[in-house]
């Protein structure tokens, strides 16, 4: 693994998921190994410690310097800093997302001109932190990349929209709303984009079934993919 050694810190590990059995299958049918009682927990990548390596420290320094212009400090706005597979991810508290986005775009030392959209992720077992929104940014001036991750809960699925700062996120936020039900406050027209307007539910949440019907093939009946014997998820 190219990941740096995991540095032990005092922080409480963030539980992301719990899987059972040798293969981590969610269906009981899959595991005939005799290890069906095994319980494995999946934890979030621990926070990175300074120095982060590469150009990541420069980004963090610039943010520390520039964020006070938005009346917020680095420690307030950024929950955690994660470095994994040579990529920097800043876990930003949702109240400060707009402040961070504005600084990323406008600060001369940062100059992340483009936001490459937003993608959702659903972690139903991460209590009160079920919905994640991940924003990749690219700086053409400095030829750098950074990712921002914002976490919110299913019961309060609100994240501020950054379409007024990065207009390109208009459709991307609509897509994330469509599939995950994250409501981007301040979006000019947050409507479904891929699914029909009257669709019920958010299809890419983990509790939304894939759907499908059993298919007969040469006398055998093949169940739909989400009901087959599986080895994970």
């Amino acid at each position: 693994m190219s990941d740096k050694e995991i540095i032990t810190t005092n922080e409480t590990p963030i539980l992301k998921d719990v899987v059972k059995g040798a293969f981590g299958s969610s269906t009981s049918a899959g595991d005939t190994s005799g290890f069906g009682g095994l319980v494995t927990t999946i934890q979030a990548t621990p926070s990175a410690q300074r120095p982060y390596g590469s150009y990541f420290d420069e980004i963090a320094d610039a943010l520390e310097k520039a964020l006070p212009s938005q009346k917020v400090t680095f420690e307030q706005a950024i929950e955690r800093v994660v470095v994994q597979v040579d990529q920097l991810t800043l876990m930003v508290k949702k109240e400060y997302l707009k402040a961070v986005a504005r600084v990323l775009r406008d600060d001369p030392a940062l100059r992340f001109e483009m936001c490459m959209g937003v993608a959702g992720a659903h972690w139903p077992k991460e209590k009160n932190r079920e919905l994640h929104a991940i924003y990749p940014f690219v700086s053409i001036t400095n030829n750098r990349r950074v990712m921002i991750e914002v976490i919110t809960s299913e019961t309060d699925p609100h994240i501020p929209s950054i379409t007024d700062i990065y207009p390109s996120n208009n459709w991307h936020e609509r897509e994330t709303y469509d599939f995950f039900g994250i409501i981007f406050d301040g979006h000019p027209s947050l409507t479904r984009i891929e699914m029909p307007d009257d669709w019920v539910g958010y299809p890419q949440r983990k509790d939304y079934p894939l759907g499908g019907i059993p298919v007969e093939y040469k006398g055998a009946v093949i169940p739909p993919p989400d009901e087959r014997r599986s080895y994970s998820g």
């Binding site: 992301k16 293969f23 981590g24 999946i42 040579d86 990749p136 990349r145 390109s168 991307h172």
Partner: protein
């Protein structure tokens, strides 16, 4: 009013709304005397000039478009959701169907992200990377040829269409020879590529390049100074650098503003730093500039293919790590590409361990360490980003594609509003959206 369900009328807070479906214009014109006229025309999704199943909702003032909005979602097939129920390797057969005109790019972006999380990026054999580059550049040519062909057709240049599709066929023949399939190949796999180049591939590619170069010259000459073509494309669909930045536009549309931003140069992957090529730019910011860029990029791509051919050294095309490398050896049989008989003979008759290993890797698949990675590559349409999340299991936890077509379609309004309907068609063609990628 009539009781026809397709051409009724109803009251709204904005006034009375009439729905027309053709042929009944006169009856409505008579009844609307004195009312404010505001015509909203629905163009598509089944329309030959909307570049696929794109629905344009246009507000018109005569021939002038005052407001343009896109309706998408007609090709949504839930690929991202489906992938969460399949193994990491099976994922390639899904992503390849997203942007169906650039399947190799989808596969490569996905595989680079998976390899990054596996931490095997440095272990990918040179030959596999060279083959990836070779196929990506051939794919870029075939994709640009379709862009020019369909773009030409939408503007009435039917010879550009027939020429474009004729030449694309040459590249699809190469794909068929190398991967077994013309489209949706699932050829690039996590760890390398599915199978080595067949015997005689290099020679066939060289011959095709030679033929393509002469054909490009013809295609270029047909259009480049053609007065009809230049009048339909020059100063049409203008989007300047500021607009591109604000809307996150990448690819030929961004390069038509003069900014040489090409991920192959700026953030190289698959060994692009070892190839010599130019980033083609224009500074007209219009449809004509994007046409020129695509034309010249095809030449650059062929240069890269030639360099890739000289760089091809014998060697493996899959990582050595047997816990990741697909166990089967593929061979071309009478019924197409499949498991080689030698391999089946070995696992069925000689080595039980190989059989177990094969079975485990094919049914269960390999595990990818928990985490997430975003990898972006330069597709023919701009930045194609693959965000891949793993929970440590044998299936992707979540895969999201940042498809350039999806993002770039947001520019339809800024490019087309204020122009004529026919110019909007030219602008959409210059974005070259592929609806399979837009809707996924």
């Amino acid at each position: 009013m009539s009781t026809d369900i397709f051409s009724g009328s109803y009251d709204t807070t904005q006034g009375r709304v009439y729905t027309l479906s053709g042929g009944d214009w006169d009856t409505v014109l008579g009844s609307t005397a004195g009312e404010r006229e505001r015509i909203v025309v629905n163009m598509g999704p089944q329309h030959p000039s909307t570049h696929g199943v794109l629905r344009l909702i246009l507000e018109l003032d005569g021939e002038t478009v005052t407001e343009a909005r896109c309706g998408i979602g007609y090709l949504h097939t839930g690929i991202e959701k489906n992938m969460e129920y399949r193994s990491w390797v099976q994922g390639t057969t899904y992503v390849t169907r997203m942007d169906y005109l650039s399947p190799i790019f989808n596969e490569t972006a996905y595989c680079l992200a998976v390899e990054k999380m596996l931490g095997i990026t440095d272990q990918i054999p040179d030959r596999a990377n060279t083959i990836r580059v070779l196929l990506m550049e051939l794919n870029r040519v075939s994709s640009h040829l379709v862009a020019l062909a369909t773009g030409g057709m939408e503007l009435g240049a039917l010879t550009a269409m027939t020429n474009g599709f004729r030449d694309r066929e040459l590249i699809l023949d190469l794909f068929e020879m190398i991967t077994g399939l013309r489209m949706n190949m699932a050829y690039v796999r996590p760890g390398g590529v599915a199978v080595d180049l067949p015997v005689g591939a290099e020679k066939k590619i060289e011959e095709t390049i030679k033929l393509l170069r002469t054909r490009f010259k013809d295609n270029f000459n047909i259009l480049v100074d053609n007065p009809i073509w230049t009048r339909r494309t020059k100063n049409i669909g203008v989007l300047d650098l500021t607009g591109c930045m604000a809307l996150g536009i990448t690819g030929p549309v961004l390069r038509s503003t003069g900014l040489p931003w090409d991920l192959r140069k700026t953030q190289p992957y698959c060994g692009y730093e070892n190839y010599e090529f130019n980033v083609v730019t224009e500074n007209t910011s219009d449809t004509y500039g994007r046409f020129l860029i695509r034309m010249r990029e095809m030449h650059e791509s062929l240069n890269i293919v030639e360099q890739a051919l000289t760089r091809l050294k014998p060697g493996p095309v899959m990582v050595e790590d047997k816990s990741i490398a697909w166990p089967a050896q593929l061979a071309l049989g009478s019924d197409g590409l499949g498991n080689s008989l030698d391999h089946i003979r070995k696992i069925m008759g000689q080595s039980m361990e190989s059989l177990i290993h094969h079975f485990k890797l094919v049914t269960e698949g390999f595990k990818v360490p928990a985490g997430q990675a975003y990898v972006a590559i330069e597709s023919p349409r701009g930045e194609l980003g693959a965000l891949v999340i793993s929970d440590g299991g044998t299936k992707p936890y979540r895969v999201h594609f940042r498809d350039p077509s999806f993002n770039n379609l947001q520019a339809v309004g800024p490019m087309g509003e204020g122009g004529q309907v026919a110019d909007l068609v030219a602008a959409v063609a210059s974005i070259d959206p592929v609806m399979g990628g837009v809707d996924r």
